[in-house]
């Protein structure tokens, strides 16, 4: 997979737009439009994006602002007092929000749970969560990033809980009562089938998709 020229990441206080500074304005424009169209309804009017890369050309920044404002969205140039905000922000935010993970779960700051998470138990993490055991019915995992269960997942899992739509849920046997990614919810079928292979859930075209994976 080639590196995305544009990445939209959800953080606790809104969306961030990561733009590859080597890309041309046309490429960026096409990519942003594609991203927005992939997730219709995900970015309500008035949503502001924070631009992540500091060394963008001024004209590119302007261009991005134009694309977004055509859709009733906007770029937030400065949340903090001192401009330019982006570089300065980086040092203040927890590092996991800045790691580009290209679908690679390992890259985020990770909470490792070394046992089965039983009914009534809850694990919450700003980063991603790795469970070395089962997630039982009635248990909850809430992660800012992705969730990986090395066992059977029967509980409720919420990846990208603060809006990261690139977060995924992976399990050896994925049979949860509910999967939530960012603000999307998929509930289990009323009659649960036993799954015999590892699966991954992620957002594609504004829907939670589940597909088998090798591991």
């Amino acid at each position: 997979m080639s590196r995305d020229l544009v990445t939209i990441k959800g953080g606790k206080d809104g969306f961030r737009l990561l733009v590859d500074s080597s890309a041309s304005m046309e490429e960026i424009e096409a990519e942003i439009k594609k991203k927005l169209d992939e997730n219709p309804g995900f970015f309500p009017e008035g949503t502001k994006f924070e631009l992540e890369v500091a060394d963008l050309d001024r004209s590119v920044k302007k261009g991005i602002n134009q694309i977004l404002s055509q859709r009733g969205l906007g770029v937030e140039l400065s949340v903090k007092k001192d401009p330019p905000p982006a570089t300065d922000e980086q040092s203040q935010m927890p590092p996991q929000y800045f790691i580009q993970h290209d679908g690679n779960v390992e890259a985020q700051e990770m909470t490792v749970v070394e046992h089965t998470v039983r009914g009534g138990e809850e694990v919450t993490s700003q980063g991603s969560v790795l469970v070395m055991g089962n997630v039982n019915p009635g248990a909850q995992i809430i992660a800012g990033g992705s969730i990986d269960v090395r066992g059977t997942c029967r509980g409720m899992v919420h990846a990208g809980a603060w809006g990261d739509i690139s977060a995924v849920v992976i399990a050896d046997r994925l049979m949860p009562t509910q999967i939530r990614i960012a603000n999307m919810i998929a509930r289990s079928p009323d009659i649960m089938e036993k799954s015999d292979f590892a699966e991954r859930a992620y957002i594609k075209d504004g829907q939670i998709i589940i597909e088998p994976i090798e591991r």
Partner: protein, 265 residues
């Protein structure tokens, strides 16, 4: 070497008291010195299952409040004199005993008995915390039912947080025909979720109820499948390696009828 076992479940009515009574009698039949403690204060019924209600003089609360010696409050079983019951009060509530009381009591009884078995009240509140305080081993009783398994899972989590790591499972009231037809959770599913050592699979058996009404636990009754199952659990508690029994399934004729009915609609 003696062992203090607490029989617990989370969900009520799954067979904790029945299990406690049967294991008590079963171990006594094998010559062990056993004392059973009812900690379901206010809802006591272990004495009924053992047919000892009319012999109760004092109870657990009298002991922890220092009114009588433990020895005086113990009620000896009619048939097995190496089996004793420490009943609880019918009128007090769970706050009358605390974890430290029970721990001290267990340590005292440990000196004289091979097995101390504690019948725990339902729930995860104070009564549960008190009942488990002095135990080395916990037996979690569940039924092949989604809600009972859910509660068992929760209880296992609680036990872990209380540093009780020696936990065993008994699955009670199994109906083999329903398991076969997929209407009841099967043993593999339950073991997969709870992931603790299973030491017993007890079928649903009317004899459990009729024998309880007579005050004679079913263990040792070889005409009863549940009786056999309890006997096997006793063996496993004593370290014997006993395979799980195959339950009698519904007869050929019934199956044929079912197949016939299926093809009709």
């Amino acid at each position: 070497m003696s062992e203090v076992i607490v029989v617990t479940s989370g969900k009520g009515g799954v067979g904790k008291s029945t299990t406690t009574a049967n294991l008590g009698v079963g171990l006594a039949m094998r010559g062990k010195k056993v004392v059973l403690i009812d900690t379901d204060t206010g809802l006591r019924n272990l004495d009924l299952l053992l047919g000892l209600e009319n012999r109760i003089m004092y109870d657990l609360i009298d002991v922890v409040e220092g009114r009588v010696e433990i020895k005086k409050a113990l009620v000896r079983h009619k048939k097995y004199e190496n089996l004793q019951l420490l009943p609880t009060s019918q009128v007090k509530d769970k706050s009358a005993v605390n974890p430290a009381d029970l721990m001290a009591l267990c340590d005292e009884l440990r000196k004289e008995y091979d097995f101390v078995i504690i019948d725990c009240p339902a729930g995860i509140e104070q009564g549960f915390q008190t009942a488990i305080a002095g135990a080395d081993t916990a037996i979690v009783v569940t039924m092949p039912e989604v809600s009972a398994v859910r509660d068992a899972d929760k209880i296992i989590g609680e036990l872990g947080r209380s540093e009780k790591d020696n936990i065993k499972l008994i699955i009670n009231r199994i109906r083999p025909a329903m398991v076969d037809s997929g209407e009841m959770m099967d043993m593999d599913d339950i073991n997969d979720i709870l992931a603790i050592k299973c030491i017993g699979q007890v079928p649903d058996d009317i004899k459990v109820v009729t024998s309880a009404n007579r005050g004679e636990p079913v263990v040792g009754d070889n005409d009863s499948q549940a009786g056999k199952a309890y006997e096997n659990i006793v063996g496993r508690l004593l370290g014997e390696d006993i395979p799980f029994m195959e339950f009698e399934k519904e007869g050929f004729f019934k199956k044929l009828m079912k197949a016939f009915k299926l093809s009709k609609d």
